[in-house]
């Protein structure tokens, strides 16, 4: 039962990763690419982490996985903001 739930969550996570990657490759400009990448990948990682946490041996491992997700969330939100801000400034300079 737990295995099936884990598999569903991980597959759902992979779907969002795929969507994010297609967005990165197909969308026209930097801002929409960032939008696709950060939103889809953060959700994808969240589902992946949820799947792995269900599959984990004990509660401590599951908590560590959730902590990793939270750290990546904050770091990727901040770094995508920095990339967008930098691009915006360069456009303003040109």
């Amino acid at each position: 039962m737990a295995d099936i739930l884990a598999a569903i969550l991980i597959l759902a996570g992979l779907f969002f990763y795929l969507a994010g990657s297609i967005g990165l490759l197909r969308l026209p400009d930097l801002y929409s690419r960032l939008h696709a990448l950060t939103k889809a990948d953060n959700l994808g990682l969240g589902l992946l982490v949820a799947g792995l946490a269900v599959h984990a041996q004990d509660l401590l491992t599951a908590l560590k996985l959730v902590l990793i997700w939270l750290a990546v969330l904050a770091a990727s939100a901040a770094s995508s903001h920095l990339i967008a801000q930098h691009a915006h400034r360069q456009e303003a300079e040109d």
Binding site: A71, A74, A75, S79, L82, H86
Partner: protein
Amino acid sequence: MNSTSLLVFDVLLLVSILSLAWASLATRDARNSVILFMAFGLVLAVAWSRLMAPDVALAEAAIGSGLSGALLLAAVYRSRGQQPAAQQQSTGEHNTSAATVAARWAVTLLSAAVAGVLAWALLHASGSAPHDTLPLAIAANLDASGVSNPVTAVLLNFRAYDTLLELAVLLTAVLGIFALGPAAAGYRPAGPVFAGLTRWLVPLLILAAGYLLWAGAHAPGGAFQAGATLAAAGVVLRLAGRQHIGLPAGGTLRVLIAAGAGVFLTVGLVLFMTGRPFLGYPTAWAGTLILLIESAAMLAIAATLVLAFVGGRPQAAGTPAHTAGAKPVPGNPGKE
């Protein structure tokens, strides 16, 4: 997981490592090349963990990909700041002079020769002697080493001499960095988002470094991984435009840098003078001595890596960075 799906995963891993390495070398733009190199390092770290070498995987991710990437990116931005943009466009085109072609061929031949020797050594080793004698010897002596992680036992006990020399290499590197003169001024202060990230990321990195150092005795980790994580905190502070990036001033900094090799050497010499072999720890004290050496090594490694990122002798305390150093490096993601 069954072996077929793992084989598919391994083949995919191998293909991505080779293609990322090729893309990184073939890319003309230096910044893209560095970014591809960082991705290459991350995938390589996954490969190391697939080879059941988590210690190497941690080191590759932290040093090989993270800090080396930060160093290379800083170098790219600095070199861009020094030459006009038009000149930079042309350097890519003029790279095909006779000397460059000759150098490329020399590097190619040398790489092929190294690959040939390695392949021959692999064939030779797999055919002849049993390859598990060394792991067995380590397992047999692990109880006397003072730690239960075999990698730390080898690095800090059985082959401690090697690690001492590695720390001496780092010390020499700092001398080179100091010889570059005063460091460039820091970046401009970060905006609210990056400053907010810094506020919780830096304590988290320091905590993670302490954990890696402590865990190294019984699990993957150790002074090098911990030092790299601690240095990452310094790099983040530097990027965020902080004046104080965790490095102490003047004399204390020198002591800190020398501490890695210094404590190691002192422990070795004290043991030598009490009639033991050089770096031959008594079993009862081995764990404590290794922790002492590793703590000093972590601080020295972190200071060295941060200094490498700063790229010169840090400014004396109280000196305004904007007047004493060179101009700020352009292209900094956190500038305001």
